[in-house]
Symmetry: C2
């Protein structure tokens, strides 16, 4: 079987050009979902598609699709892609990589006149980051039926602008593209992304063959004591919610350290609010938020279930309540796609390793629809969601090559 060589210079050049749309002084990209800048990025992609005559479609939630038609128009298509929106003052590769290597695959196949049975799409999923409209992953979530269209479009940004208005503006900016119904099925999906961690970099490998996306459980903890005068209230009479909450936080951390010698669990307290929050008042209440992630469902259950008991045991003379607010199981990717990613890396001599995705990606929703996999490449020092985000041109080219191979495998399938 034939696997055409991608054009490494072109795919790198496209990254540098797309990064100019919303470029920051710090070398990053500030391109929130469905802003004028993000719409400009979509228009640019549609122009690149148009240069090859690839048809473009938009759907009702603002996802955009660029297609290279297959030889069998009745066969379910396959796809690759990611997103163009960034975090505030984010980087040049998170999202853009997955879109541009997929476009490179289509252009390579077109340039070399290689035909395939199934049509191949570049999917540009809307609002992956969730930085402007909550929640994130909303384009892929609505497309695959995991999220509701009406609720998603009704969502507003910090200025009260609805996503519906913004999607309408995206459509208006691309008047000549087709319309796609939500949920049109795919027969396979592969997404390339920077790792956003350092395993590949540390091992010196080029390709991460992503096997699973880890699960998470999230908890809100409320600790209630009694507010009191900091000058007059002796220690023995205090019910200090700050002390109880920090004792609970420390006990939880020590539990997770003791039960996770291999440093696989991700246990984070990122929100911790003290009330009333005054210089001369012993805190009467603390609210904090636990983000716990793990690739193993058994570990998520065992350690997540331990949280409430540890909190109760360390509450001192305060009250504590622990409420689970969300959970997502670990999701294994399709063995068929995983094997194709691994085979492609081997075929081209890219050093690779099996790896778990610790972050969420659009692929999390696509795997509900079709066989799905992911390809990771290193990012410098694991830094992401940051203007300093950086990737190596050779690694970008390797991602484009693997995605091209896998798309061709999937598109040729019976």
């Amino acid at each position: 079987m034939e696997y055409p060589k991608i054009n490494a210079a072109r795919v790198w050049q496209r990254h540098m050009e797309l990064a100019k749309i919303g470029a920051t002084a710090g070398g990053g990209v500030h391109r929130l979902a469905l802003t004028d800048l993000d719409i400009k990025a979509h228009v640019r992609l549609a122009e690149w598609a148009g240069a090859h005559g690839f048809p473009v479609e938009l759907d009702d939630v603002g996802n955009m699709f660029i297609r290279r038609p297959g030889t069998d128009s009745t066969a379910t298509p396959v796809a690759s892609g990611s997103h163009t929106d960034t975090q505030p003052f984010g980087g040049r590769f998170d999202g853009a990589l997955g879109v541009l290597v997929a476009l490179e695959a289509l252009e390579t196949l077109e340039d070399q006149g290689i035909s395939h049975r199934r049509s191949i799409d570049v999917a540009i999923w809307n609002n992956e980051e969730g930085a402007r409209f909550m929640p994130g992953l909303s384009g892929s979530g609505v497309y695959t039926g995991a999220l509701k269209l009406d609720e998603t479009l009704a969502g507003t940004d910090a200025d009260g602008v609805t996503m519906a208005e913004c999607v309408k503006r995206l459509h208006a900016a691309l008047p000549n593209v087709g319309w796609r119904e939500l949920g049109e099925p795919y027969a396979g999906f592969v997404e390339a992304h920077i790792e956003q961690a350092t395993l590949l970099e540390e091992a010196g490998n080029t390709i991460g063959v992503v096997t699973d996306i880890q699960g998470n459980r999230r908890f809100e903890v409320e600790v209630v004591g009694e507010a009191a005068h900091s000058g007059t209230t002796p220690r023995a009479r205090r019910r200090d919610a700050f002390i109880a909450a920090t004792d609970i936080a420390a006990a939880l951390r020590h539990y997770f350290e003791a039960n996770d010698p291999e440093d696989i669990a991700r246990f984070t307290i990122g929100i911790f609010k003290v009330f009333p929050g005054a210089k001369a008042i012993v805190p009467g209440k603390v609210d904090f938020f636990i983000d716990f992630r793990h690739p193993s469902q058994a570990a998520l259950i065992e350690h997540g279930d331990a949280i409430a008991g540890i909190a109760a045991a360390h509450r001192g003379n305060c009250e504590v309540s622990v409420k689970e607010v969300s959970q997502a199981s670990p999701e294994p990717f399709s063995p068929a796609v995983i094997e194709r990613v691994a085979a492609s890396a081997k075929r081209h001599g890219f050093s690779s390793q099996r790896i778990i995705s610790c972050a969420g990606h659009d692929a999390r929703f696509l795997l509900r629809m079709c066989p799905t996999g992911m390809v990771f490449i290193p990012c410098k020092d694991g830094v992401s969601h940051n203007e300093k985000e950086s990737a190596d041109p050779d690694h970008v080219a390797a991602a484009a090559q693997v995605v091209t191979d896998v798309l061709l495998d999937l598109a040729r399938q019976e």
Copy 2:
């Protein structure tokens, strides 16, 4: 020497009546400094004064003075008083007690035709609480020269209203009162106040003979780590400012517990802010605030000076800086006033004990000007700055009696 009996029913009745101005549904008082309600309280006090022909004066910072003239108009006057402003949803006694027992002293002396050499003032110090305008104690602070008039009047509330505008409104509401120059000296000052703690209640004593006002040192602590993705960043690569800050807070608490077996020090962390404060981001920075108080200057120095070293020793892989933002030495009250308070309690058979003021009061600034002391009475369960604040009518009467005795002692002095 003659000490007239005060009118216990009247002083209690006045408390209940003043508490109607700004009464809350929860049984407390919400009467922020220089609001319409606080101005109404001043007008009411002026009416009570007028019924006896006591002259009333206002000064440029909004302090009000009610005088019973002495027989020697050239002698430096003496005073007692406190404030009429309350905390938001505060109580009926904090401040009001000190004003109303002083007024009771003047009325008792007037009713019984008892003369005294020095004039005696009821002083109603403006904005003691600092709940509307920062800082608190501003009326007594400006009067005694500890704070600057211009800066204080330029201060604004949350709506941007300056204290200067409000003082003008107070003057306009009392067009017929005299004007007092700031800093007119006193020869003695005594202030009655609820204890705001439980030592008197626990001991079953009526009168607290206040010997000192404790000192304080305040510190801002900044802990800097590195923000990181909570899903992808392994423990070993994190520089979690929340972990470092909570470790520092715990180490400081344990130090103060170990070095303060008698529960005298007041060590409080009431403000603790986590940045960026997002569910899925390992905190990159924490700012917190330490309020440390102690009646002993030696202890303030020793333990306050230990804070930076403890913070540095527990900063883990983060950076920490500790900045002292204010300090006030413990202040002993005048032995002459202390002894007169103790003698009055003994004379009338009120059980008493020597006690330290752990909170700040206007008396802190008056002792810069003249021999000064304080009288405490119990408040139920030590609860203050709260609608539930409550005091016993017998204790209020005892405070009025002691203040009357001490004022008469001070006013008769050569």
